[in-house]
């Protein structure tokens, strides 16, 4: 395997692995705090049981997320030293703040996990909330660093030199808000649906029903509300990408030809040779509207982007379709769930609704991974958009393929062990 491809794949695997654990570690503490709040308010032990069960999950996912995050902080340099040499001092600000937020999260988690019956009940609860808030904050900060790669700012690039560095301006680059918002909501959607799905399965199996009903409701409400907010934040992101990275938008949509009243292409197989998309559903003018807010405005197509600056079209397009498709499925399920909650209470006891949630367990995470694929692959061939090419950033050391095999093996076995562990947690809850 080519070293450059190996380095990209290793980075993709590491990020793809980390993101799952980071999201759960970020959002589960909120679920846990909600259950904990009900326990303190109502003194119903079922809420305490839910809180404790979830806090074990938080411990497992946080620790796995923390080690995979530590690995990433080294991998940036191990795989992309040229990038880090120049980017580190510019986009380092969010990382140094993230260090603090993450540290606070670790400390608060120590208080929370070991604080039962030792701390004042409400202080104990607050430490749980702090775990969630600082986790969310560190997520936002890391995304701010990523968004700088899409929207580099806070420096002047003159004759290959990076001058007049302003780390604060770099942190608050044009893309940070839309990306951080989209990602934070995505974390709630994916974790909410995953947790709700698992508890729905347990209700269907008929064990410890009261416990799982309470847990299901908290996770399902968080997940479905977030799922309905996500298209709005997606719209902000789409308009932002259209303005800053027309090549990425064009690849997402497999939009080959610059045109006014551009069609939104749903599905289909991009044919890069003949510059057309086969078997796709086309909605005239919708792409123009989504990108600019006006059905007749022009949307830049791939024909305006030099060949060497185009991202891989097929991967970006498919990933985008998957993300949007999964997102829509979740919105649909959310609507059904709201109808059940507010209009048709009898639906809540029907197995078909629970079965739908079981099926939807991985859907949020599939959308999340697909979304990151769009962001990262869609930025190619650049590692810093318009400034540095990914191929120029890769390490000099040969043999990265072996490192890739090694890390892949490690991540696969970790994923395997975590699955066993989760299965056993759930089995333990049944007995």
């Amino acid at each position: 395997m080519d070293d450059f491809l190996a380095a990209r794949l290793q980075m993709a695997f590491s990020l793809g692995f980390h993101i799952v654990f980071a999201c759960i570690g970020m959002v589960m503490p909120f679920f846990m705090s909600i259950a904990h709040f009900y326990w303190l308010k109502t003194k119903k032990t079922v809420f305490k049981d839910v809180t404790k069960a979830w806090s074990r999950g938080v411990a497992i996912f946080f620790a796995t997320g923390a080690v995979s995050g530590t690995v990433l902080s080294f991998e940036l340099g191990l795989l992309w030293p040229k990038f880090m040499e120049h980017a580190g001092p510019i986009f380092g600000m969010p990382f140094s703040l993230e260090g603090t937020a993450f540290f606070i999260e670790a400390i608060a988690l120590g208080f929370y996990l070991y604080g039962w019956d030792k701390l004042h009940p409400w202080f104990h609860w607050v430490t749980g909330v702090v775990v969630g808030v600082s986790g969310l904050l560190s997520g936002i900060l890391v995304v701010a660093a990523n968004s700088w790669m899409n929207s580099p700012s806070g420096f002047d690039f003159v004759d290959g030199k990076y001058l007049n560095i302003d780390p604060i301006k770099a942190m608050f680059n044009d893309a940070w808000f839309s990306q951080a918002l989209h990602m934070s909501i995505a974390a709630f959607v994916s974790t909410g649906f995953a947790v709700a799905g698992i508890h729905a399965l347990m209700i269907l199996r008929g064990s410890n029903i009261e416990f799982h009903r309470k847990a299901f409701k908290i996770a399902a409400i968080c997940g479905t509300v977030a799922a309905c907010l996500q298209p709005l934040s997606g719209d902000i992101s789409a308009k932002d990408v259209a303005k800053r990275q027309p090549a990425k938008l064009a690849a997402m949509e497999a939009h080959f030809h610059t045109e006014k009243n551009a069609s939104l292409i749903i599905g289909g197989i991009p044919d890069t040779l003949n510059k057309k998309v086969d078997y796709a559903l086309k909605l005239p003018g919708v792409l123009s509207f989504m990108a600019t807010g006006d059905f007749n405005k022009e949307v830049t197509g791939l024909d305006r982007i030099p060949k060497q600056d185009q991202p891989p079209i097929a991967v970006t397009h498919y990933a985008f379709q998957i993300m949007v498709g999964m997102g829509m499925l979740m919105v649909g399920l959310a609507v059904l769930y709201f109808v059940a909650l507010f209009r048709k209470k009898q639906w809540l006891d029907k197995t078909w609704l629970l079965k739908l949630f079981v099926v939807a367990t991985p859907v949020g995470f599939i959308a999340l991974e697909a979304g990151w694929t769009v962001t990262e692959v869609g930025r190619q061939p650049w590692i810093i958009h318009g400034v540095m090419r990914t191929a120029d950033a890769v390490t000099l050391m040969p043999g990265i393929a072996y490192s890739f095999y090694l890390f892949t093996a490690v991540y696969i076995s970790l994923a395997f062990i975590v699955s066993i562990l989760l299965y056993r947690q759930i089995k333990y809850l049944r007995s």
Partner: protein, 338 residues
């Protein structure tokens, strides 16, 4: 502001060695404990370390972030030429962190523990070993930017007797810190006696491994004696550490657990001081005689300033919370885990 950043970098490394090191040591002494005593060692250790376990490992992240934000050239040079030991260390960190959590949070305690425990123990050994190798390699002058073949660029940059000896020495330090720490956590006289006997053994081991480092330096023609004893502060640090060792032998027999911990921490601080002072501000010594200095290879002024402020503000939040965490859980007898 650059000095603020350097102080933070040094402190983060020191705290990682002290706190993370004691934590690695927990796994290491489990390895060197007879099978019969293992459960006892484990239980005593984790009741104490559990709550601050995650926090101990944050110091490494802080150090890495300071390096890549403030001193990118140094970070990338290490990343390129010490790629292999770094990967080994990372694998150790992954294996250890996950095995620790798995064995403490698995809902069912059964045969799976037999999988987690060896992983935990051996990764506890491997991680500080490679950490020591990386630290030693950065000053052993074997990193060759002009190397053309794979072995001399990426293998011999770190594979030498001196680095290996420092790796072993780091492992022994971790075991030492853990043993001293655990004495204060024992709940009965038999356990206390047991760990005091162990402490004597680890002290001799550390001294032996320290001697190995000097021997290896001699073999590899690294002027270690000159580095450590060439300047007055180095001599003072080593003499202070030696005196504190004498005090320690006294304290071991007089049941002074807090004093023991302070002394062990002091000794390790002095060792790190003596090892880093001699090169300051240089942090990486290259084969071609050019050194990477914290003062000449720093980022632009605005970067260093904002990094310094971020660290200062961050420590306002972190330090009180961390001390409170340690304080709370040292107060009462720790109960069983959640």
């Amino acid at each position: 502001m650059i000095y603020v950043v350097i102080v933070f970098l040094w402190t983060a490394i020191l705290l990682y060695i002290l706190l993370g090191g004691a934590d690695f040591g927990a796994g290491i002494i489990e390895l060197f404990t007879s099978k019969a005593n293992r459960p006892k060692t484990r239980k005593t250790m984790y009741n104490a370390i559990g709550p601050i376990w995650e926090a101990n490992h944050m110091w490494l992240i802080i150090a890495v972030v300071i390096l890549f934000v403030g001193f990118p050239k140094i970070y990338t040079t290490i990343s390129i030429y010490l790629h292999i030991p770094l990967v080994c260390m990372l694998l150790g960190i992954i294996a250890r962190g996950t095995a620790f959590v798995f064995r403490n949070y698995d809902a069912v305690k059964d045969d799976m523990q037999r999988v987690y425990t060896p992983i935990f123990i051996y990764s506890s050994l491997i991680t500080p070993f490679f950490l020591g190798i990386i630290a030693a390699s950065s000053v052993s002058g074997r990193i060759d930017l002009a190397a053309i073949d794979f072995a001399s660029a990426y293998i011999y940059s770190w594979l030498n007797w001196f680095s290996i000896a420092v790796g072993i020495f780091t492992v022994s330090i971790c075991g030492y810190l853990a043993t001293i720490f655990i004495i204060g956590q024992t709940t009965n006289e038999i356990d206390r006696k047991h760990f005091i006997r162990k402490a004597y053994r680890t002290i001799y081991t550390v001294m032996f491994c320290g001697a190995l480092v000097f021997l290896a330096a001699y073999v590899d023609e690294i002027p270690l004696l000159d580095w450590i004893f060439g300047k007055l502060p180095g001599i003072v640090a080593i003499v202070a550490a030696s005196i504190s060792l004498v005090v320690m032998l006294w304290a071991l027999n007089h049941n002074k657990p807090i004093l023991l911990r302070l002394l062990a921490g002091f000794q390790v601080t002095m060792i790190l001081f003596a090892a880093t002072y001699t090169h300051f501000p240089d942090i990486v010594l290259l084969k071609n005689g050019v050194n990477l200095s914290l003062l000449t290879h720093q980022g632009q002024v605005k970067t260093i300033d904002s990094l310094g402020y971020a660290l200062l503000i961050g420590s306002l939040f972190i330090l009180p919370a961390l001390f409170y965490l340690i304080y709370i859980f040292q107060q009462k007898k720790p109960a069983a885990q959640a």
